[in-house]
Structures are given as C-alpha cells and as structure tokens.
Symmetry: C2
DNA sequence: GTGCGTGATGGAAACGATTACATGGGAGTG
DNA sequence: CACTCCCATGTAATCGTTTCCATCACGCAC
C-alpha cells in the first residue's frame, strides 16, 4: 500500500511536505499542495493511522466497556457515546464485559495496550486489581452508570432516589399499600442505591416493608421471574411488584402472565429502567427512565476534558418517573 | 510510560530478548525469562500495540459497520461478531452507519486508515464510490446481512424465502385470505427479496395480492404505522398484516392498538425479524427469525479466512418461521 | 553590494516494537 | 586439542509518520 514516501516521490517533493499537506499546515504553497493532492489521488493514498499514532502518542480512539450490548439500556448508552465521540473526532471501541470481571479485565488490558486516549467503564461488581492499578497509575478513566467505592475516579451516572420516591407516592395515591421490590445485587452501586431509596421512600409514605417483600436478583430475566413467583406465592402477596431493572421486570411480567393474572387489576408492575418497548406492552409499563443518551454524551465530554488535562467533576443526573398504566389509572384521568 | 527499552535496561538484557519473552519465543533461557518478566512487573510495562502493529502490519482488529446498534437485530449481530472475534484474538470496532451512506463512508475510511485487518459491512442501500473503490483494490471486506449487486464480495446473510412461504401457508391454513405486506425499501437487497418471496408465496397458495395490499416502508417504525393505517382504512381491509421488519411491525402494532382492534381476532399481525420481546407481547407475535448469532459468527470466520488468504464462499442461512399467537391458534392446538 | 527577514522546502531523528543477522561461549566429537 | 554445531543473546534496520532544524531563494532596506 502506498505510503507517504511514494506520494512524495510521485509529486517530486519531500516527505515532510507531504506530511504538511496532510495536516494542512499553512506553510505550503498553493501550487505544491495541489501537486501533492493529485499524487495522493493517483496513488489512492490512505494515511496510516497506526504510524501516525505511534509518533503523536494519540490514537483518537476511546474505549467503552459495558455490561452487555443486548441490554437496551447499554445499547442506548453505547449509541450516545459513539455519536458524541464521533462529533469530537474520535472512534469508539466497544467491549462487552458480559458482566464478568475477567472479561472486563480482558478489555481493560487490550484497550490500554491499543493506547486508547481514554476509557469509559461501566464497572462490574468487583474492583479488580487491574482496574485499581491503572486507575492509580493515572490512566484517563471515567466510570459510567456505576461507581466503585474507594476509587477516586470521576463518574457519570443517574440517581434514581427521587424518582423512586415519586413512584412509591404514585402507587400510594392509587391506594395500594403492599409493594414488593426485586432488588439488584448488593455488590453493584446501582443495586444498593435503589434498594436503599426504596426503603426510604416506603418509610416516607408510612408504608411497611416486610422482609419477605424484598429479594435480590442478579439483573437478569430469570431471577426476576423466580422472585416474582415467590412473591405471588406468599400467603399475603403484594399488590405491586417493582423490579430493579428492565430484564427482571420482563421476567416478572412473564410469571404474572403465566398465572393468568391481570395487570394492574390483580397485581401491578413497575420497573426501574425504561426501555422503548415498555410503551408497547399491554398495558404499557410504568417505569423509571434513566437519561441514558445524556449520560453517554456527558461521559464522553468528561472523559475528553480529563484527557485534555482539564479539571473534571463527576456528574449525577436525575432519573424520571414515567407513568403509564401498569400500576393503575392516575387520579388525573 | 515504560517501553521495551526500559524493561531491557532494568533486566540487564537487550531489547531483542525482551521482545522474545513478549512473544514467548522458545529461544530464551528459563532464567532470563524470569528476570525479564520480573522487570515487566516492576515497571508495570504494557506492550504498545500501536508500535507492534506498525511493525507487523497487523492490528488484530476487525471493523464492523452496521445500520443501527439500537435495532435489536443488529445488536445481536454485533454481539455475536464480537464474541467470535474475541475467541480468535481480535478486537472489534463497531461503527454505526445510522443507515446513512455518508456515515457509512466515514467509517469505511476511518477503519481503513486504522488498518483494521478486515471489514464487515452491512451495506446501506447504495454502492458508494468509496466502497466500490476499496473492494476493487482488494481490501478484505465481507458483506453481512445484505448484499450489493454487481460487486464480487463474499457475503453472509439469511434467506427468508422458505420461511415466508411457511408463513403464508400457516395463515392460509388458519383460514385467512387477505394478507397485506409492509415491504422494505426497493434499494435494499433484503427489501427486494422479501417482497418477491411474498408474492411468490401468495401465488403458490393461490391467493390474490391486490396492488393496494403492498406498500413499501423504510424499515422504521413510523412508516409501519402509517402504512398499517392505510391498510386498515381500505374499504376491504386485510385480515392479516405482515411487516417486513421488526420496527415496522411495532408501528403497525401501535396503530392496531390505537384503533382498539384485537389481535388476532380483528386483524392478525406477523413480522419479519424476530426480537426477544416479541414473545412477551400480548399476544406473542408470530415472526420469522433470522439466525442472527450464527450470521455474526459465520461472518467473522469467513472474514478471517479471507484475511488469511484462503478461498472463501458466501454463506446463506435459512430464516425460520416462529409460530406464536398473533395470527390465531394453530390447528394442532 | 551586503545583510537580513521571510516563507517554502528538505534532511534526518524519533516513536516502540519485531526480526534478520551477527556473535560468542560451551558441549560434543574425532 | 581442534573443529563444529547449537543455543542464548545482542546489534541494528525497519515499519510510516511527525517535527525540529537547516537550507535556500527571494526581496527589501541600508
């Protein structure tokens, strides 16, 4: 494949000049510029970004490590990150950690070796030595969606506390009292936060939370279904099931349907995480929406600030309650 | 950041030896190997893949250009491609073309400059000069999901012809005759194929297809909804609406619901493209499933064969009819 | 005419790895 | 003892850029 040297030879100039044309430096005469560009076209020259990066120590590439691209929440995040990065002249390499720490590490290692200019990580539960290590050694990392305790890393995430309060109040106003919660893993910051907010919100409304009304799943559909089943088998089953993420909500939905129960008449359902097709379900699902696009875009901006050496601060955006019909009709209707 | 030279100095050996340890060449004594590895750990050495790629002319990276990561079909595809590539020691850079030719070109250009070892493209409608150009100049490209006429590029895709015949027969057996089709853009190979297969299948069953029962959408939800509305407004509306992709099916679903019509009693609905949550709809949607994971995996294998210079052949995998309840209960029930 | 600033261009070092080739020492063999 | 072979290791060229510095020609002022 043609290199800068071939172009230089073909145009009868030096490689330095070709390079200057490439980076459109002003110190090239109109005439030479044309000559060089003609040579480039003639030889179908394509700059070699690898060589360029070696020299400039910058790859114009960002790494993004997410839990799973098949989870619509992460898909939206990834899309937003990519859009924002492209606008800033960067390419994004996405790594699917599949929620497994060792696979997360695999990507951290690989992306670092590829010398990405910055790294966006949605951390899995545990702090791995590798992650801790490269954070300490100053790698430009920003955490997205989740945080890890004890590490001084800027993060961009949503806070669902307020929205969970809104949800509990909404349900309370509709006259339901017994609310059960399918929580997430204690190990994930998002899991802990939501559970805590749920308890707080219930207390604030003067509602009781029996121990058997809260069970932790693993953010996967199967656990949502199993836990919903246990809730419904209780001698005094809940009037509302609130799932801690979209996949567990799906599992709960299946369990409810398979028992022939009607939503919301027999049991109401709500979910943390809003995904596009919740609106197309029958009935449409009431859910708490995270500002995923905004999170993705902000994360890129924070990361790039960091890369450029500016001081950066963590960002926390509020989640928002989206009332549909799965908890009953609202009083305003 | 520490380089191979620093490691060499720290271990008291030459850079060549360090490099040999790195690539675990057998021509290094046990003893030196340990010394070098100790030095690497001490200096937190991370190999620089950029430099390595420059020298070896291989990046161990594959490019994947898809229509839109938010479309579940592409998400599954991307996930499979990534898994298979990782297993083979490659990283994947995903580019979202957003179905826009110029954005597709942006990624083709960028990825080529980054010197990816191979390129997987789900081409948008048009052949762009750039794509044509690099295909002709022998870039290792494989088309995925769609093909472009007139270009000799190996492709990996699904064929829905058989499944569409199955679907039409299925509907026919259930006693419905008037089937309308929301087809895809004529410009896309997938769009053309499905339309053609639909006509053939109808003819084979002895069913008539009035001109106003086929309308082309753009594979987006809004067009599906609009076209469904026109079908339903016909003086003799269809008994079944068959949508050419999952997004248009969604649009049609919304339109049907908003009119208070029941599925399948008032009108049946089926979709090309099966996505996970179709099974969770009420009623679960009958759909034609493409073997997306398999497509992704095979595409990587074909591409890698190509990269390694082996002769390769295009792959066509059959799509499969998945009968659920949105066209009515099957006779076997 | 000499000196100098300016603007365009070229020469060559560097980036961090890989690798062909050279070197040197120890063991084995006659 | 001398010769050879082999194994471990080192030296240096190389990949395709960018960029610092030098060079050269030109015009202008003194």
């Amino acid at each position: 494949m043609a290199g800068i040297k071939d172009v230089a030879a073909h145009a009868g100039v030096s490689v330095a000049t070709v390079s200057r044309v490439l980076n459109d430096s002003p110190r090239v005469s109109e005439e030479t510029r044309d000559k060089v560009q003609a040579a480039m076209r003639a030889l179908r020259y394509r700059p070699n970004a690898v060589a360029r990066s070696l020299r400039t120590e910058a790859t114009q590439t960002l790494g993004l490590i997410i839990g799973d691209i098949l989870n619509p929440f992460f898909a939206v995040l990834a899309r937003a990150v990519e859009d924002e990065a492209r606008a800033a002249g960067y390419t994004v390499v996405i790594g699917n950690a599949d929620e497994r720490p060792e696979q997360q590490d695999h990507y951290v290692r690989t992306l670092l070796e590829q010398r990405v200019d910055g790294l966006l990580i949605c951390p899995t539960a545990e702090i791995t030595p590798l992650v801790e290590d490269c954070v300490r050694s100053g790698a430009p990392v920003v955490f997205l969606d989740r945080t890890l305790p004890g590490l001084e890393v800027p993060s961009v995430r949503a806070d669902g506390t307020e929205a969970i309060h809104d949800l509990v109040r909404h349900i309370h106003r509709l006259g339901r009292r017994r609310i059960a919660f399918i929580s997430g893993p204690e190990l994930l910051s998002t899991g802990r936060e939501r559970t805590r907010a749920f308890h707080d919100a219930m207390r604030a409304c003067g509602l009781d939370v029996p121990g058997r009304y809260v069970e932790a799943g693993d953010f996967q559909a199967a656990s949502g279904r199993a836990i919903a089943a246990r809730f419904l088998d209780l001698s005094e089953p809940p009037e509302v099931i609130f799932a801690g993420d979209n996949l567990m909500a799906l599992g709960a939905l299946d369990e409810i349907r398979s028992r022939g129960l009607r939503i919301p008449d027999d049991v109401a359902l709500a979910s943390f995480d809003d995904v596009a097709w919740f609106a197309h379900l029958d009935p449409p699902l009431t859910a708490i929406a995270q500002p995923a696009e905004e999170l993705g875009r902000r994360a890129v901006r924070v990361l790039l600030d960091r890369v450029e050496g500016h001081p950066v601060e963590s960002v926390v955006l509020p989640a928002r309650l989206v009332i549909r019909r799965s908890c009953g009709e609202t009083e305003t209707k």
